[in-house]
Amino acid sequence: PPETRSAARARTRSGPAPVTDVAKLCVCDLLVAQCDVNCCCDPDCSAADFSLFTTCSVPIVTGDSHLCSQKAAIYSLDVEANPPERIFKLIDQVNPSVFCIAATNYKQALSFSSPEMPTPENFDQLLEQFRSASFSAEPDSWPMNTDAQSSSDANETFRYEYGVPIQTADAFLRLPSPVVSSWCSDANPAGFLVNQATKCTRSVSVEKCGNIQAASMLFYINSSILAVSTVNITVQSIVVQSLNGMRTSLNGSDVLRLPMILDELCINIVLGVSYHITYTDTGEIIEAAASFVLGAINKEALSIQQSFEISFTQVNTKPVPLSGNPGYVVGLPLRAGFRPQGYPSPVEILFAALVLNTNKYSQLTILQSTSNQDCLAAQGARTPVLFGYNMISGCKLRITAAMKCQPLTQTLLDLLKGQNFPEYVASFGNSQAQDVLDWVPITHLHTSEQRIYNTFQSSCQIPVSLEIEVKWTKYGSLVNPQARIVNVTATITTTTAKQLPSGRERTIPITSSVVFTDISAPAEPGYKAWPTINFKLPFDFFFPFV
């Protein structure tokens, strides 16, 4: 019924009424419906309980002692009587001081005021009154602060650091990405030097062809990046994809192609954008280019999948994928190179410019196990060595009598080491090819499986296993240690292949493995020197006597 509801609401709106009658006040009555020990004012206690008390914990309950005359409730135990009983007296206590309060015309003077209960009507006013920093509900104040900061040191903010969102004239450079579901969200800012590739779904339809902002080229290139000087996004290339998936590259790539309807199809819909940002080593963005893939949709299409990518290239360098900056990051491939004849410094073989992470030739690789486990049919499948990941792989080699020793040895060495086994491994993830000292040479060892030396050295020694041991250490500060490769050893183990009688064949396992060993020295604390007391008397301290 509505009356009880409004009455209940009214009750909850005000706090409980304050108790001012001293006869009813009891501070030691803590347990509900139970007698508290030694609490003489507890109404839950019976006479039998009182007879067990030893003393009264609350002997007197009075009002404000500043008042000239006030009511007081006095509780005491009469221990003489048998059984002991509680004595309760209500008296008027008189304050003898001449400065006692005879009367007061200020109601809140002698008691705590009950706080105002928030209601929908007074909530805003209470929020204004009691709002402090923790309850500040104005997000508008934040962008104002950052604007003030950026205007005061305008030059410094436009040098970007790793991970900082790239700012454009109105907001941030957007890289649409899927958030909770696979639908595109345009709120993902691109971070400086953070290479990202995302794929997401966007809902489109032929009817809304010209109105879908996110499917038109203009949406992605009309913002200009704020750097030390404003950088406009240029169109690098346009690839047109037809309905059946065939892609053709367009020649005139400076023409803006907006979505339009042609033959019941909506063409020039953006299916993919690839941003390439060029930066200097001081963190300034100097160039931005976007490559587009445009496609077409027909009447039945309800959504398209868009893919976005952003990559960063330092100016005047060829893009080489780093495996860490500076220390190696677990999971990234080891960077390796070789010193070509006549060159004083190692040179990495570089793959085609902008494709990342497929630099097969500048990596250390090991044999990749295949499903048929036949070494000779492996056809050169290799997998790159990733930092921190111990790997073991292998295959089975079938030796027949017809195989000759020397070609077999060579085949196995090629199998184990691969085509371009490097000579140097980078000690840091970002070692540049010019710094010779940053590269660790690979040490080669040969061991033989047989412990006992055969006197017949002419028997065939075939390599059966390659073990690469990478020793690395933690380098740098204790809170952010960087992994640094110190030593790389490639051990080839050979075994004797006895000449088989014709017709017989033998299967031997071939293994290759990579092991990463942490040889970090334990961190040493560095203590500051003990302070010394520099105590010297002034020159003329004993003046009259010296």
């Binding site: 001449v98 400065f99 309060i101 015309n105 809140q108 003077a109």
Partner: protein, 135 residues
């Protein structure tokens, strides 16, 4: 034998005593207001009227005593009448400090009661003196 002297001697004595007592009253009330503001919760919008009325009362008192004394000594009824009218204002202010102050201490009650008694006695003597001057 003072048939040719109409000035009232008891009234003049009372004026003199009133002056000295009022100085004490003013200092005591001010000190107690300061004490109350330190010990109790005395917000500014209650403190300001109390202090203002105390200073107004002091000004009125000075005026009242001067006019009354002058009127009595020059045997003029006009200043004495004016002093009587101002006495009404002083009485009202004294009642305020006795009853309607923010905090009324026992000491406040005592000194205000004495002041009111003095005012009452003065008023009676003034009326008698005015009657003597007029006739």
């Amino acid at each position: 034998n003072n048939s040719y002297q109409l000035s009232s001697l008891p009234l003049q004595l009372l004026f003199y005593v009133n002056g000295i007592y009022y100085i004490f009253y003013f200092v005591a009330t001010l000190a107690m207001i300061i004490y109350k503001s330190q010990v109790f919760s005395y917000p500014d919008d209650f403190l300001a009227p109390d202090l203002a009325l105390l200073f107004i009362m002091a000004i009125l008192e000075v005026l009242r005593l001067y006019l009354g004394s002058m009127g009595n000594l020059t045997e003029e009824e006009a200043p004495l009448g004016l002093s009587l009218v101002i006495t009404v204002g002083s009485v009202i202010l004294s009642v305020y400090f006795l009853v309607w102050q923010t905090y009324v201490l026992k000491a406040d009650v005592i000194i205000n009661a004495v002041l009111l008694f003095t005012y009452g006695l003065e008023s009676v003597l003034k009326v008698i003196a005015i009657a003597a001057f007029v006739s």
